[in-house]
Symmetry: C2
Subunit: 405 residues, 2 copies
């Protein structure tokens, strides 16, 4: 039996944990998907008409959204009419059986559906309710709309990214959505640890803005203590020099890190420029930071006179961190990615095999697993209603005929 | 009594969890700090000479590194000579009493110190060992050096960030380090949930590369299924249009999101351009994506004829997501940040009050808390040796005189 098959048979770390995922887009769905990959039983609850908005997002394979598939694997899908009072009652019944609820509606929406925290906590004292929003559940601007890009814009992240002579620039992926998803997951698992001791669930409140601010390294103290505004500086590292992207003779970009006092002498050796170590402008990290333009110019000149393969083999020989800037085409051609399952293929019942990123958490005894593709809309409505709530065929049929599920 | 004081008296969700943090730089320290903020008892184990490299990183306040403070609050510090066999033996004794061990040495280093997983697991079957590395603990390139910027470079993230006519660009913060820290934290807490059931600890293996790849949205399937390479496109959203950064008449940058079919009609209303909804180039999301340059040009023209305050008040009135691109100076002046404790001040015994980002996870019943600043090097060596291992004054004094601690 292959290792993979054996691993699939071991239950995941979160096996038995029942999660309702009411969320849409990325921050909520990625959180619930991480829980699912780790073994939780996750049921995505979607509106009857069309489900999660992202089911309509391009690109499509066989009319199924790849975007949706990437954020919703390993989940079940149940549809429910959120606007109907009977749908809301059914939702509360399901919540009564859940360990965890994840939602990222605008603050106030759950309340309007009769699913405020007080009610849910009374209904199910062990429930952990994770609420993901732009600005948090309370405060002066809680009800304003927010998305990843607005959080990047409002917190300085956008102003800190880009070339020094260019405009503020978004990170090439939705970093804030992803980090918010991960903080929410940590909040849920911490609440689970607390429940194990105290017996009760609790409310987990995570916001895009708070998550974005958490990523700012030393920018806040530098501003508030020294009045120094951290802003964009291209590919120049903020804390060590030289650490920068350079162009090779054969036209490739290399990222080279030789800023620290352990690394710089190795670069000097590779460049055969021992004089640089004697030069007071470059002898210490502090001196190199003060003369960063000069040292980068010297390294850029040397890199520009050599081909990328030669530089990579020379830096590797002295254990100096250096890598080619890869395109996504390069990435998928890198055998390391398949070898490590950072890229894996998930088979969708309609769209077929979809290659995508894996979960980057390896657990030796209760491994994560990718068991199923993202569900078709409402594929598990009947099974969940029967298993969770003991509904009969005719009860399910009635709910369906009334448009409640 | 203020709410803050009351919260400080409630134990955190992870109270009682004993963590040894052997890690340096960001990915490991941020992971252990999140655990500490959530209530765990975290002891950072540092080499006797100088401790974590980042203690020497600028900027400094009273010779104390702000960088170190931002990633190591709420921890204790114990020093230990990792190269001495007696230091390694002492380390194993401490590990025997720990619930969690976090390390981000190069793979092989723990083994060289007699702290391989087999040994540690035998020594303490309940131990959860989190190993953070560039490429994972095994595989063809596990021993190569890696840092955040190399992971951004090697996975396509750098190629995906930046202006379309400019070079590949790093994200303005160490997104990969941060995300790796968060995935490691999730791995630890999942292992804790498993231990609660099964009684045994396990190995958690998280890598910078795997974490970076996990952030790539639909880039991998788009490449592998359609041969379409996702690359940088400035501030243009990838899945909806118009969602872009625009310059106002008064010279500010605004980020405006009006791509979805729910949002676009609101923009049209604000712009008083109902004709756009009738225009087949812009009537649907798909059409707007196909004609993104045209619709952006129209919006850019309108934004350029208005001042930012006017646009923000008008978009707010119709609930359209729009925000000014803020600098870090703007961020720290925003009262919302203090109101929500996204920015908080931590008092260091030597450096005084240091404003910094908080933990963006709010738990209603077992709240996270910032109880202490980052520790001075070795400040808690004696207390930890006495409390964890029952050492006497003279035993501690002997270890000190021998240079082992």
């Amino acid at each position: 039996m292959s290792a993979t098959l054996r691993e699939l048979q071991r239950p995941g770390a979160l096996a038995g944990l029942k999660v309702l995922d009411l969320s849409r887009f990325i921050a909520g769905p990625h959180c619930a998907m991480v829980l699912a990959d780790l073994g939780a039983e996750v049921t995505k609850v979607e509106r009857t008409r069309g489900g999660d908005d992202t089911r309509a997002f391009a690109p499509m394979v066989e009319d199924e959204s790849v975007y949706f598939m990437v954020f919703n694997r390993n989940k079940h899908s149940l549809t429910l009419n959120f606007r109907d009072a009977r749908g809301q009652e059914l939702l509360r019944q399901l919540i009564g059986r859940a360990d965890v609820l994840v939602e990222n509606f605008r603050p106030g929406t759950m309340e309007q559906m009769g699913c405020d925290w007080q009610t849910l906590h009374r209904l199910n004292p062990r429930l952990i309710m994770a609420r993901i929003s732009g600005y948090g559940q309370s405060g002066s601007i809680a009800s304003e709309p927010c998305f990843d890009a607005l959080a990047q814009a409002s917190t300085g992240l956008m102003d800190m990214t880009g070339q020094p002579d260019g405009p503020p620039t978004m990170c090439g992926t939705y970093v804030v959505d992803y980090c918010t998803a991960l903080y929410a997951t940590i909040g849920i698992l911490s609440a689970l640890a607390h429940r194990q001791q105290a017996g009760e669930g609790q409310l987990v409140d995570v916001s895009l803005m708070g998550s974005a601010v958490s990523l700012l390294m030393t920018a806040i103290p530098e501003q508030m203590l020294f009045g120094r505004t951290t802003t964009r500086r291209g590919n120049r590292d903020r804390y060590a020099a030289p650490a920068q992207m350079f162009k090779t003779r054969d036209g490739a970009w290399l990222y080279l890190i030789a800023g620290g006092d352990a690394h710089f002498p190795r670069l000097v050796r590779v460049m055969e420029r021992p004089d640089l170590l004697e030069d007071p402008r470059f002898a210490t990290l502090k001196a190199r930071m003060d003369n960063v333009t000069a040292i980068e110019a010297i390294v850029a000149g040397w890199v520009g006179e050599h081909d990328s393969d030669e530089i990579i083999s020379k830096t590797r020989a002295v254990d100096l961190p250096c890598a080619k800037v890869a395109s996504i085409a390069d990435l998928v051609a890198n055998p390391y990615m398949r070898e490590t399952a950072h890229i894996t293929t998930v088979v969708h019942p309609k769209a077929g095999g979809i290659p995508m990123q894996g979960l980057p958490i390896r657990l030796s005894e209760s491994p994560a697993s990718i068991r199923n593709s993202a569900p078709m809309l409402g594929a598990d409505t009947e099974v969940v209603l029967k298993n969770w709530l003991g509904f009969s065929d005719s009860q399910v049929a009635q709910l369906r005929s009334q448009g409640i599920v």
